[in-house]
Amino acid sequence: MSIIKLTPEEQATKLEAVLSKYKGQGQKALMSTLQQAQEIYGYLPLPVQRKVADALDVSVANVYGVISFYSFFSLKPKGEYAFNVCLGTACYVKGSQALLDKIEESLGIKSGDVTEDTKFSISSCRCVGACGLAPVLLVNDDVYGRLTPDEIPAIIAKYKEEANV
């Protein structure tokens, strides 16, 4: 998932539109509302959770409970360039753990974290379904397949150049 760059005002307007669509529908609309809210913000900070809870007439605790249950929902913002290593079984037996280790080493952060300048983040996922290309790395929507750890520095350098770091 790539991050859509919107101004805070645009984000608020978009969220309002989503909330008015589901207003008063209660629990059954919660997942869909959260999915669309995350598309707008890239993650789900507390103020957004409060607004969703108000609109659907459910408790904030309930909203937080659902967010923390599902790995797709994030409480932390992602980096501008989100590195996502597939740790599905097919990629794992072909050495994707070594890719993840190399990316962590090169960017100096751990999986699940964001660099201080918010340019890069690392995460892992369970199978993107491109098993024919194993091991696979995603950087936002770009797919890199059949990778070895030696190729990682060049990929990172490419994005650093793009990000002017």
Binding site: S32, L34, Y70, F72, T89, C91, C127, G132, L133, G145
Partner: protein
């Protein structure tokens, strides 16, 4: 409709799209138009052809030429040579991997659930209709066939749930049909959580209408008017094609109100999952559709009695539904003639890992594991030795070389300590450490356990800790016994299948590869060189020229000179003291003579 002299089929499944097949598609349209051939040549977007390792794949009919590993840059040449001059582009006829043989890949397969994948354009309802699509539904509704009769036909076919459990589909429908209630639901489980499995996704991407048709039939049989397809949010292409297909079906009157003038109403909605493996469990999936945390609930009551929103519900897997229209068109007897005594029909597998032909395949039940790995899969790459094949994902187990001739069906796989599962099949070679693989699956179940019941929440965590000890060299033989003890409690005490089966990867690897566990514990060795804490660096003295570079870079002063001078060398060789070595690897990087090894 124009008559085309050639059809160019471009695979636009997720695997090939990741390698830019959508651009290949655009380029074909562009160059075909440039040559003014739009009326002669049809460029078609299709679902998965199956041989994902050699993607992106382009197939040109009428002759059926397959081009492998195409790039957007190759398209101009294919158009100029093949489509204009009639000469095949030889260099793209060969697969990228010399050991991969496409002829063998397809010859032992039988496609029922995947019948339309890679044959039709999933975005065009007309193409599905042209391949007998919506025929079964139309026949049933226009003749108002007795639902009980349809259910008994499904029962007679012997179809069992393809999501893993293997429960007879006809019986499931029968239970829900017999419960009296004005509101009932039909659900489709497309929350394919098993890592390394992509069967359901490929069906949704390649043939979405078959699911719509089958769910509508299911709705008619049990008396439901609303269906939900629960799809992983990680499958954007599948979601897009399925929602487009639902819209088209509605426009054509195949779902909606008064379908085929029968007075029967049925509609479908998509619900997106949000990345929770436990939501593949039926009660958890329904809680998730209701917008709640995906916690499983005890059964009974079974969903057929009290399911989604407290109403009678049937839930089947994508692949199960994909079989329904074929069974009704060709008859239960035909379907039952394929397969083994207790497992009828075919099964789709996603073959991955250390095997030449990675991809999607469908085989008649009763095919042996050996045929899949070595004939269809083309064997193991780089001349390595086969070690095991894993089926059933985090709930399944490993099948070792000695059981390669096991004929695949539900009961045989359980008998060898694995399970059918949803169809993930990962091949492992001699470099795969079985203890590490067990740990990999346990890490997954620890992550994915919903935490509701103690045996699963605590048991998976304790087993993961024990496995971590074994792989970092601090395990004891008592730990092996402890693993088995916890596994039993987990199996007997867990609320849902996630916990009940979570120990399977450990139990099956301990059963078939116990020597590897013992080696980790007693000899502190990992023969595959995977468990880093057990690796030891050593110097091959006969290759060492005695330059001493390694000793200079060693931060721990672990490398010293010996008295031994290798034949043909001038200086005495060095050695590493394992008790001092910090395993940084600096020596190995420095040595220009490949005299330092890690094992």
């Amino acid at each position: 409709m124009s008559n085309y002299r050639a059809h160019v089929l471009v695979c636009c499944g997720t695997g090939c799209t990741s390698s830019n097949s959508h651009i290949i598609m655009e380029n074909f349209s562009k160059f075909v138009a440039e040559k003014g051939l739009e009326k002669e040549i049809d460029v078609v977007k299709t679902g998965c052809f199956g041989l994902c390792a050699e993607g992106p794949i382009v197939v040109i009919y009428p002759e059926g030429t397959m081009y492998y590993r195409c790039t957007p840059e190759d398209v101009e040449e294919i158009v100029n040579e093949h489509l204009v001059k009639g000469r095949k582009v030889e260099r793209l006829l060969k697969t990228g991997n010399p050991d991969s043989n496409p002829t063998d890949f397809y010859s032992k397969q039988m496609r029922i659930a995947l019948r339309n994948c890679g044959r039709i354009n999933p975005d065009k309802i007309e193409e599905y209709i042209a391949h007998d699509g919506y025929q079964a539904l139309c026949k049933i509704l226009s003749t108002k066939r007795d639902p009980a009769e349809i259910i008994s036909e499904i029962k007679e076919s012997g179809l069992r749930g393809r999501g893993g459990g293997g429960f007879p589909t006809g019986m499931k429908w029968d239970f829900a049909a017999k419960v009296q209630n004005d509101t009932k639901y039909v659900c489709c489980n497309a929350d394919e959580g098993d890592p390394g499995a992509f069967m359901d996704r490929s069906i949704l991407e390649g043939d979405p209408h078959t699911i719509i048709e089958a769910m509508t039939i299911a709705g008619y049989c049990i008396g439901a008017h609303q269906g939900y397809v629960y799809v992983r949010a990680e499958y954007p292409i599948a979601v897009e094609r399925l929602s487009a297909a639902i819209d088209q079906a509605r426009e054509h009157g195949f779902i909606g109100q008064n379908i085929f003038n029968s007075g029967f109403d049925f509609d479908l909605d998509i619900r997106l999952g949000a990345g929770a493996f436990v939501c593949g469990e039926e009660t958890a999936l329904m809680r998730s559709i209701e917008g709640k945390r995906g916690n499983p609930t005890p059964r009974p009551p079974f969903p057929a009695v009290k399911g989604l929103f407290g109403k009678p519900t049937i839930l089947n897997n994508v692949e199960t539904y994909a079989n329904i229209p074929v069974i009704l068109n060709k008859g239960a007897k035909w379907f039952a003639s394929v397969g083994t005594e207790k497992s009828k029909g075919t099964k789709v597998f996603a073959l991955g890992g250390k095997v030449n032909n990675v991809g999607l395949l469908e085989i008649p039940m009763g095919t042996t594991v050996r045929e899949i790995v070595f004939d269809i899969g083309g064997g193991i790459p780089d001349g390595k030795k086969f070690k095991a094949v894993q089926t059933g994902g985090p709930s399944g187990g490993c099948i070792p070389a000695s059981l390669l001739d096991t004929a695949i069906d539900y009961d045989n796989l359980v008998a060898v300590g694995s399970m059918m599962g949803s169809g993930g099949m990962i091949v492992m070679d001699e470099d795969t450490c079985m203890v590490d693989i067990a740990k990999f699956f346990l890490e997954f179940t620890v992550d994915e356990s919903c935490g509701k019941c103690a045996p699963c929440r605590i048991g998976t965590k304790r087993m993961y800790e024990i496995l971590t000890r074994i792989t970092d060299g601090t395990g004891t033989l008592d730990d092996l016994q402890a693993l088995e003890d916890v596994a039993v409690s987990l199996k007997n005490g867990s609320l849902c299948a996630l916990g009940q089966t979570a120990a399977n990867p450990i139990l099956s690897t301990m059963k078939h590869f116990r020597d590897e566990y013992v080696e980790h514990v007693v000899d502190k060795k990992c023969r595959c060189g995977v468990c880093k804490d057990l690796l030891q660096y050593s110097i091959i003295k006969d290759s060492c020229i005695g330059c001493g570079m390694c000793s200079k870079v060693c931060p721990a002063d672990a490398i010293t000179r010996t008295d031994y001078i290798a034949p043909g060398k001038k200086l005495a060789a060095f050695e590493i003291d394992p008790s001092k070595c910090v395993k940084c690897g600096a020596c190995m990087e420095t040595c220009k003579f490949k005299a330092i090894v890690k094992k």
